[in-house]
């Protein structure tokens, strides 16, 4: 099914504006992007069938287009589920390389972009101060930062406590060291079985030679 180019163009405008807003609020990011110029990443989504081209321009600005004839630096092909999997992964670079997304072209810029994204430090206080004024904006930003910090800490504590409960209170999973020792023992056993198997084959061959 062919999508309406105006709808895709509208989505590109919205995405482009949001990305550029974030980049402009993160000091240094635009300069980092400038160093990647010229770079075009083709994103070929098979289901739904949509092609997008993300270009980094000489001034560090990003444009997203739905049509391009010139060659891309790197192309990514897959379904929307594959791309969503990469976006949601804890380590997107690893998910991209080991997942179902097919990559062609120069992959080095993808890793550089991941570094830029990891360094993205958005100053949310600036747009709040622009809208609400410097005092109210700063107060609200302080509250948002405190809430964000608390929720991050809570999430980290919950994760650790859940892990401790599974291992120690509930005894639902053996400790890591026990698991490692078990897997090492299994590997060791596999090697010994292989060696015994080879020895048996050698003895059988020798016996066959003696009887012949």
């Amino acid at each position: 099914m062919e999508h309406d180019p105006a709808v895709i163009a509208g989505a590109c405008v919205v995405a482009e504006s949001a990305i550029m807003r974030a980049i402009n609020l993160s000091s240094g990011t635009r300069n980092q992007l400038k160093s990647l110029y010229p770079l075009t990443i083709g994103v070929n989504c098979s289901s739904p069938s949509v092609d997008l081209y993300v270009t980094i321009n000489a001034d560090g600005a990003i444009t997203i287009e739905s049509y391009r004839e010139e060659a891309t630096t790197v192309s990514l092909a897959g379904s929307w589920k594959d791309f969503l999997g990469v976006a949601a992964a804890a380590d997107p670079a690893s998910a991209l390389i080991n997942g179902n997304v097919q990559i062609s072209g120069d992959t080095a810029p993808l890793l550089q972009i991941q570094t830029v994204l990891a360094d993205l430090d958005i100053d949310w206080e600036a747009p709040l101060a622009e809208t609400l004024g410097p005092i109210a904006g700063h107060q609200l930003a302080t509250v948002i930062r405190a809430v964000t910090r608390t929720s991050k800490n809570t999430h980290r504590r919950l994760k650790r406590q859940l892990s401790e409960f599974i291992l120690e209170e509930g005894r639902l999973s053996p400790p890591q060291a026990e698991q490692d020792a078990f897997f090492t023992a299994v590997d060791d056993l596999v090697l010994r079985v292989d060696r015994a198997n080879s020895r048996l084959k050698r003895i059988k061959k020798r016996l066959d030679g003696m009887s012949g």
Partner: protein, 254 residues
Amino acid sequence: MSTQDNTTDETTDFGFERVKKEEKAGRVREVFDSVASQYDLMNDLMSGGLHRLWKRFTIELSAVRPGQTVLDIAGGTGDLAAKFSNLVGKDGNVILADINAAMLSVGRDRLIDKGTLNNISVVQADAQFLPFEDNSIDCITIAFGLRNVTDKAKALASMNRVLKPGGRLLVLEFSKPASPLLSKIYDAYSFSALPAMGKIITNDADSYRYLAESIRKHPDQETLLEMVEDAGFVDCRYHNMTGGIVAVHRGIKG
């Protein structure tokens, strides 16, 4: 309602009227003289801002590169020319052409305000008789202008003449909606809401009634495709946008 090109040796369409060919340019000029100062505002209101997305896709299709020469015919207020100016860079050249002096004046002022006139030339020209050398232009765009041209076939032939071999023509124009339901809604909107908006914003309902009528008299997608092919272009195709309300036709000079 016909969607064929009804131009004969003697007469042509001016909205739903038949007028002598030599009269049409003058009548069209009156329309655009009247709306020039509020043209972009009206475009935004009439299309709900969609005209920006239609133009954006047209620019993507142009595949214009730095250093190229782009001719934007019927460029009016210069919104496409400003975008092309960035794409061709300091080594390229953009020619903003329009038959209407009032529209060009608004466009030139706007480009000066944006500071983008350094690689843009402004030329008052008739699309049927383009005052440029043969094989001199890399890309020609005409956005929402072809339906106002007196003899469309002659204009397309003139564009073919000035394009370089391999050069690209893009015609962005209102067209025929694919769905009958959308067509009915669109008709009701353009013949009722459009003149009413024109009356409020520019105090000129007649000009916007002409715009609605001229859209209905403009060739549909397939007819225009044939006309582009007949003018000598190859690898011709079109993309419908917003359900076919607008279509962008592309042709390459062979």
